[in-house]
């Protein structure tokens, strides 16, 4: 039993706590408000290395602390974003999330020493993919916490999600980290590491080749529709909290009404103008149709008239404020067709949804292809948005509003993952943030940042055909395989441990 001790953790490493410190800093820039791609690749390497150079219990406590510190910094904005009271949000998002996200590191520490050779590097990616995949099915923040979101700047790698969903990309990142740590543990001795490196390198090369060729040679079929998006919202008004809006409506209804009426009037006028400038679809951002119950009802009626009169589709979000603060604001999206009929009515379910598995999307046919839509944070729930891919949606709308400056970029960065997974074009008109249009391969083909723009209109020509992705067909097969692989590896380790124990016991008895 003595001969293997050298390779069994804890690996002796006098810099162990330095790695933890580096990891903590890197985690801050990997998930949360500021994402640096390189940091997200490196952070898990140092976390794994630290964990493996510590005794299990103590290492895990330190990792919990590190994640708690990092999360409390990088996720601060969630307190403002969540629909829950700040205290509950603080309790859920910081310690509980630190606990949850530490699980794959704990599993790696427990299992990987018992798996021989390079195969041991699979423990961490299988564990973290299993965890991410299953947890996202119930995670009330959707995919916000997934590390692959940090790969927004690598369109080539991102193509992988068209096969595996976003979880495959997480597998790739986790495997690269466990491979790096494995190489480190082998003392970077070429003769020991080259086979493992070649296996991982071949996998990575395959992923990159797929992405490169897909981006190089694949485009949607010809044919586009002109979508004009308009942004007119009153910044002062839309940055008020729901409670402040309600109290304005109660205490100063005249101001509230004159402000909202002005906005709504302008939206209608601009819609007519853009229809006459060639728009076939006019889209407004989230919170565009702000007003009291009467005003938003009148707006929808007027929207129907305009759509009919101009022969356009109108993407019209309303935001109904009630004088009774007990009644929550009604944040709802309508899409009106050129006959004046409502073809989609959707109530926003993000940014904190506890019923992810029950949510249904509406899909409708148009001469410009199949369409569907959600609002803002709703888009961050891949398990829900997948319905659109399976139903062959060509164009997907996600009118958004970004009252929190700290997540404007983050939100825009994670949006293109959904089009690549599902093969639709995404039109995301965004109030106070970055409006974008992305093709079914995730190529961002138009951007307008409302904070910088002098014009309130973004005109895009969106392909009327989506593309079929492998992910549409096979769904989460890759993730289920990872789950199966994880279960297998756990079973294998348990079986082997028992076997070697009973062998040791019988040896002792003899």
């Amino acid at each position: 039993m003595t001969k293997n001790n050298a390779s069994k953790p804890p690996t002796s490493d006098r810099w162990s706590y330095l790695w933890l410190a580096i990891a903590t800093v890197l985690v801050i820039f990997s998930v949360g408000a500021v994402r640096i791609t390189l940091a997200a690749w490196l952070a898990p390497i140092f976390l794994l290395r630290f964990m493996r150079s510590q005794r299990t219990g103590r290492g895990w406590l330190w990792i919990l602390l590190a994640l708690l510190v990092a999360n409390s910094i990088s996720w601060r904005f969630l307190i403002d974003m969540s629909s829950l009271p700040p205290l509950i949000t603080t309790i859920i998002f910081f310690p509980i999330f630190a606990l949850l996200y530490s699980i794959p590191y704990l599993i790696d520490r427990l299992l990987s020493p018992r798996v021989p050779g390079f195969a041991a590097t699979l423990v961490f990616p299988l564990a973290s993919t299993t965890f991410n995949f299953l947890f996202t099915k119930i995670d009330p923040t959707g995919s916000f916490g997934l590390w692959p979101n940090a790969l927004y700047s690598s369109p080539v790698l991102m193509q992988m999600v068209s096969i595996t969903g976003i979880y495959g990309l997480g597998f790739l990142m986790a495997w690269s980290a466990s491979t790096a740590v494995w190489v480190w543990e082998q003392g970077l001795a070429w003769t020991k590491i080259w086979r493992g490196l070649a296996i991982f390198g071949a996998f990575l090369a395959l992923v990159m080749l797929y992405g490169n060729l897909r981006l190089l040679f694949f485009y949607p079929q010809p044919g586009t529709v002109r979508v004009h998006q308009i942004i007119n919202s009153d910044e002062e008004l839309v940055t008020l909290s729901d409670a402040e809006m309600a109290s304005l409506l109660v205490n100063d209804p005249a101001t509230f009404r004159s402000k909202t009426e002005q906005v709504l009037q302008k939206y209608i006028e601009d819609t007519i103008r853009e229809a006459r400038a060639g728009a076939q679809i006019v889209a407004w951002p989230e919170v565009a149709g702000i007003g009291d119950e009467q005003a938003t009802a009148a707006l929808v009626a007027r929207g129907k008239e305009v759509a009919q009169q101009e022969g356009i589709y109108l993407v019209l979000p309303i935001y109904t404020v009630y004088p009774d603060p007990a009644i929550p604001v009604d944040n709802r999206l309508y899409i009106i067709d050129p006959t004046g009929g409502v073809v989609l009515e959707h109530e926003k379910y993000g940014c904190t949804a506890f019923n992810v598995s029950q949510l249904k999307l509406t899909v409708f046919d148009t001469p410009y292809g199949k369409m569907s839509a959600v609002m803002c944070c709703d888009l961050d729930y891949p398990t829900v948005i997948r319905q659109a891919g399976r139903q062959g949606v060509d164009i997907f709308f996600a009118p958004s509003n970004e009252p929190l400056p700290s997540i404007v970029e983050t939100h825009a960065q994670q949006a293109p993952f959904r089009p690549i997974e599902n093969g639709f074009s995404l039109v995301r008109p965004t109030n106070l943030g970055i409006s974008q249009y992305t093709d079914p391969y995730g190529r961002t083909l138009a951007i307008a940042d409302e904070r910088l723009s002098s014009s309130n209109v973004m005109v895009v020509q969106v392909p009327t055909h989506g593309v079929k992705t492998i992910y549409n067909v096979i769904g989460d097969l890759f993730s289920w395989l990872a789950v199966a692989g994880f279960v297998f590896i756990v079973g294998w380790v348990i079986y082997n441990t028992r076997k070697s124990r009973s062998a040791a016991a019988s040896n002792a008895a003899n």
């Binding site: 791609t37 080539v156 190089l216 586009t224 895009v460």
Partner: protein, 513 residues
């Protein structure tokens, strides 16, 4: 020879390697997919590694011949789809000899010089040669920097921010360096203790470059204020059939007048849709001098009436006169004045090659116009492949660069590559870019960091129109100040390292005798 037992054996060339031909094959495959029509970014980092390995494990003469054959095959496959438009296949195949020879020189330099330089410095020979040669070539070549290694990294926006400091040449150097680094480690059998320092230097530099780019993208934003630029080209169904000018001048003029009317109509339409600046593609309109003058007069009226700027791609013909035809970008201000009158300078030679007659050779310079929307400048198509001239945009603090573009009809692969290359000029000079193609290429608008603001694939879109909001303020870049300093450094560095290698070779010879 008195080498103590614990020192590593001296590395000798040719290296003994029974897989040498496998490396050549792998190198050729990777080279094929890394250039021309394919441009697979990561292959460009790896391809030279295998070609160098092959060459270093061969005798110089034989190795060079085989490398030439391999390179020729690779470039024939990858570049034919891009450069096929210059003429019939034999013309391309002859041109490909030139491409092959030029690209073979850095490998030859590496093979000849590396044996005389011990240590890590030897890794610099190949990348200095590539970036130096491509830099010098870009100064004298009729097609500018077209096809320079490094452009294929276009999709890695963080990485290519490097060109805002070094121009293209720093990127060319970095990508090429990877191959000689891999060989350096390979020849030391990847023994960590021996190769650690070198690998860490390279990884550190790549890391710093990525961090610089990442931070520049994360924090860099142009100041608030945008202008709406609408660019458009004739629609597919508005095809005008030109008759031969020599036999039917009147018929030709009728056609070009009809074409010019379409462009004026389109301009009015876009002005009414909210355009503040309207851009046409290369040679979108034109005709004989008289008709062009009439068109310009009409455009002046439109600019005044609609209070817009119009940037027009024009082709002016002089039938019966011994005078080359002209390819221009003319910009008219809302006052009705002509504020930019630019003649195409880039690759005008190609027209003669393609049998389109001699085109006027413009001066290698840019014109600028100060406007309420910032300082504007504009060029025509291939002009934007000449970084040394385009740098005047950065030097004159231009804010927006207009490119009237016209890829040959149906040349989709060329069109995509060209659009990707032109975005580098925006990053180098800190200007926004708006570029309208004429037929089936890409129209594109980017901010001064190369981020796509609008992109329209004219082949697949229902309307050949692009609408974009461009920042009216450019950003500072070091490149606009220091220009192609890195290109020169590569040349000087290469000369220096060659001298050093020759000197140390002589010294060794002298010691041996």
């Amino acid at each position: 020879m008195s080498i103590s037992a614990n020192k590593p054996a001296t590395i000798t060339y040719p290296q003994v390697d029974r897989w040498t031909y496998l490396w050549l094959a792998l190198g050729v495959i990777l080279l094929t997919v890394s250039t021309g029509q394919f441009r697979v970014a990561f292959a460009a980092w790896l391809a030279p590694a295998f070609v160098i390995r092959f060459f270093r494990s061969q005798k110089t003469g034989k190795g060079y011949l085989l490398a030439l054959l391999g390179l020729y095959a690779a470039y024939a496959i990858s570049w034919q789809a891009i450069l096929g438009f210059i003429g019939p296949l034999p013309v391309f195949l002859i041109f490909n000899i030139f491409i092959t020879l030029m690209n073979s020189l850095p490998y030859l330099a590496d093979r000849l010089l590396v044996p005389h330089l011990k240590g890590f410095a030897a890794t610099l020979i190949y990348p200095l040669a590539v970036s130096g040669i491509y830099y010098l070539y870009n100064l004298v070549s009729p097609i500018g920097s077209f096809g320079t290694p490094g452009y294929e990294q276009f999709s890695n926006l963080a990485l290519i921010q490097l060109v805002s400091i070094t121009g293209l040449w720093g990127l060319t150097f970095l990508v090429s360096w990877c191959g000689s680094i891999i060989n350096w480690a390979w020849e030391r059998s990847f023994i960590w203790a021996e190769v650690r320092r070198g690998l860490l230097i390279f990884a550190g530099i790549v890391g710093v470059v990525l961090l610089f780019g990442g931070l520049r993208l994360a924090l860099g934003r142009s100041p608030a204020g945008t202008v709406r630029v609408h660019s458009f080209s004739r629609e597919k169904e508005q095809k005008v059939e030109f008759v031969d000018m020599a036999t039917d001048l009147a018929g030709f003029r009728r056609t070009s007048q009809a074409q010019n009317d379409l462009l004026i109509e389109g301009t009015l339409r876009e002005a009414q849709r909210g355009a503040q600046i309207v851009l046409w593609s290369e040679m979108a309109a034109g005709g004989v001098e008289e008709d062009v003058n009439a068109l310009i007069a009409r455009a002046k009226q439109v600019a005044q009436q609609e209070a817009i700027y119009i940037a027009m791609g024009l082709k002016i013909l002089y039938p019966g006169q011994d005078r080359p035809w002209e390819n221009k970008l003319v910009m008219i201000a809302p006052s009705g004045e002509i504020v930019i009158d630019h003649d195409k300078f880039g690759a005008t030679l190609l027209y003669s090659m393609m049998g389109e007659g001699e085109a006027f050779q413009g001066e290698y310079s840019l014109k600028t116009a100060s406007t309420p929307y910032g300082i504007l400048t504009g060029v025509v198509c291939w002009d934007a492949d000449f970084p040394a001239t385009m740098r005047q945009a950065g030097k004159s603090n231009a804010d927006i660069l207009f490119v009237a573009n016209g890829e040959p009809e149906g040349a989709t692969a060329t069109g995509q590559l060209h659009a990707q290359q032109h975005i580098f000029r925006a990053i180098e000079n800190g200007v926004s870019l708006v570029r309208q193609d004429g037929h089936s290429g890409l129209s594109v608008a980017t901010d001064p960091y190369g981020r796509t603001l609008a992109l329209v694939d004219l082949a697949n879109t229902s309307q050949r129109v692009m609408t974009a909001q461009l920042p009216t303020h450019g950003v500072f870049t070091l490149y606009s100040v220091i220009g192609d300093l890195f290109g020169w450094l590569a040349v000087v560095g290469f000369v220096f390292i060659t001298g050093w290698a020759i000197y140390s070779a002589r010294k060794t010879n002298a010691e041996a005798s």
